[in-house]
């Protein structure tokens, strides 16, 4: 019978170590990147902003809406009748 447990142990250890090295590298890269200045709002393109409502949803009824034409998360100006993917109904 093949010694599956021994083979499995070695390969799994390699798998975990590869994971550790890869993830650690990503962590360092990500951390270094994060030191650069970051935008505070999404662009309208990123947010898939449109100037008309979507299925009855509109900026004016969104929790992120800041009258008269601002959004907490999307670069303005935005229309009260607009919509984007960040839409979250006002509580």
């Amino acid at each position: 019978m093949r010694n599956e447990e021994t083979n499995g142990s070695v390969s799994r250890r390699h798998f975990l170590n590869i994971t550790a090295v890869g993830a650690g590298t990503l962590a360092v890269v990500g951390f270094a990147d994060s030191a650069s200045a970051a935008p505070k709002k999404f662009t309208q393109k990123q947010a898939h902003y449109q100037a008309v409502p979507k299925s009855g949803q509109r900026c004016q009824t969104c929790a992120l809406w800041q009258p008269p034409t601002e959004c907490q998360q999307v670069e303005g100006p935005v229309s009260p009748a607009g919509w984007c993917i960040l839409y979250s109904p006002k509580s």
Binding site: G8, R12, F15, L16, T19, A23, L26, G30, S55, Y87
Partner: protein
């Protein structure tokens, strides 16, 4: 899942280092917490009740957009752990391996994630390593890597993309299908019904799938793709059992459509899915025979935000499976090779979950479930029927879903109580195994703690 004995102490070292690294490198913001950091929004923006995996409307958009939406640079690493205590109405005979007959306190799982977007077109969610504390085994877990682009289709703003994933339905943005459906956490400690469909779990982690999808006008979703089995060596390497359930013969096609719109002030979705697979059981090629499965289902969900961070969500799905286990019967993996009725069966499964979230912190969920099907003494013990049904109730508390944890905005936790009541179990209400066991003997209380950072 196969229990793989690993060089446990050695394997633990890099894992522990990563968990520590995720803590050390925590960034301001709060999904997996790596996504919260990337988008600059707290867990509650993407997840109902401020904790994964049930997605809000924005969470679905983020996933379908390939995890690429970014406000901040981020560290694409997260981790989570789930521990629980489970009491069943009667002691389990025999007890679960390594555990007592009842009142078991276990680490259900601990996982390491790499999750983030690269540029405008590539992103991924990779639950790269999971330690199963009940089976005492390591394996990979849900992985969903995406390539996306925006497009105008018939004048409408749309997203089209590819998803490379290792579990059918792991790529789905609604919480109606199996991979991300309720209950979002369970345990291998207590007994569960024997019957289940192929799309539920057996292919999770044992296949690699590539799908093309379109999200048209933020309303219509269409996906088509297929799954294949990785080689035996690869499955061994990632901690999966290459023989369970066997290898997919050729490609198993998968399709999914859904429509989402505003309904009664909430986000409504209705959809359908299909998976068809021919499987060589135990990876054995026996002439031209294979086991055939055809799964199709319909699903629907509705999510409505109410005042003071309250919300109401409902998810329901029905799934039918028709199976023809010609190869398993011929090889006597099922039955003794003499029964001409061995091969065919039908299963019908449905599950619903209705959740109310109060003030974004306290949730109550009621989830009835049922599986029924044709009688087949070769597949099922007892009276030969797969029938099980019951109700799972859950109350949970998520104190820091808004990113206000005293341990930092990347730390989130959920504490919960689950109670499962069975009406039928493996065919019958009473004496289902003809050895005196009743369905209610499997009723279970589970207290769990789930942390993520």
């Amino acid at each position: 899942m196969r229990t793989v004995k690993v060089g446990w102490k050695l394997a633990y070292v890099p894992g522990a280092a990563l968990f520590a690294a995720a803590l050390v490198f925590h960034r301001p913001a709060e999904a997996v917490p790596a996504f919260a950091e990337q988008t600059g929004r707290n867990c509650a923006a993407c997840h109902v009740g401020g904790f994964g995996p049930e997605l809000t409307q924005f969470g679905r958009e983020f996933k379908l957009g390939g995890y690429t939406l970014r406000m901040h640079k981020s560290v694409p690493i997260s981790a989570m752990a789930i521990a629980s205590w489970t009491h069943t109405a009667k002691d389990q005979v025999p007890p679960p391996e390594h555990l007592g007959a009842n009142n078991n306190l276990v680490l259900d799982q601990a996982s390491l994630f790499i999750a983030g977007g690269v540029g405008e077109h590539f992103g991924g969610f990779a639950q790269l390593v999971t330690y199963d504390g009940v089976g005492r085994a390591w394996s990979w877990d849900n992985i969903d890597l995406r390539a996306v682009t925006n497009a105008r289709v018939f004048g409408a703003d749309s997203t089209v993309g590819l998803t490379l994933n290792n579990s059918p339905t792991a790529q789905d943005p609604w919480n109606t299908l199996s991979a991300w459906g309720f209950p979002f956490t369970d345990t291998a400690v207590s007994g569960t019904p024997a019957a289940g469909e192929l799309i539920d779990d057996p292919l999770a982690g044992n296949t690699i799938g590539l799908s093309a999808y379109g999200w048209f006008n933020h309303k219509v979703y269409a996906e088509v793709g297929g799954y294949r089995s990785p080689s035996r060596g690869i499955l061994d390497f990632v901690g999966m059992d290459p023989l369970d359930p066997g290898s997919v013969h050729g490609v198993a096609p998968y399709g999914r459509v859904a429509y989402q719109a505003d309904l009664a002030g909430g986000t409504f979705e209705i959809g359908a899915n299909m998976l068809k697979a021919a499987i060589l059981p135990g990876r054995v090629q026996f002439g031209s025979l294979s086991d055939h499965y055809t799964d199709w289902g319909i699903d629907s969900s509705w999510l409505k935000s109410l005042g003071k961070s309250d919300s109401l969500s409902a998810n329901v799905r029905f799934e039918h499976e028709r199976g023809n286990l010609r190869a398993s019967c011929a090889l006597a993996f099922v039955g003794d090779g003499t029964d001409p009725g061995c091969a065919r069966y039908d299963l019908n499964e449905w599950r619903a979950a209705v959740r109310y979230t109060w003030h974004g912190k306290v949730g109550a969920t009621v989830s009835p479930f049922s599986i029924t099907g044709s009688r087949n003494f070769n597949l099922y013990d007892g009276n030969g029927r797969p029938d099980s049904n019951g109700v799972l109730g859950q109350i949970d508390f998520t104190p820091w879903g808004a990113g206000d944890s005293p341990l930092g905005p990347r730390f989130n936790a959920r504490f919960g109580l689950q109670y499962t009541i069975y009406g039928k179990f493996n065919g019958r209400r009473r004496n289902y195994d003809f050895a005196g066991a009743n369905a209610r003997d499997n009723n279970a209380v589970r207290l769990f703690t789930w942390i993520a950072f």
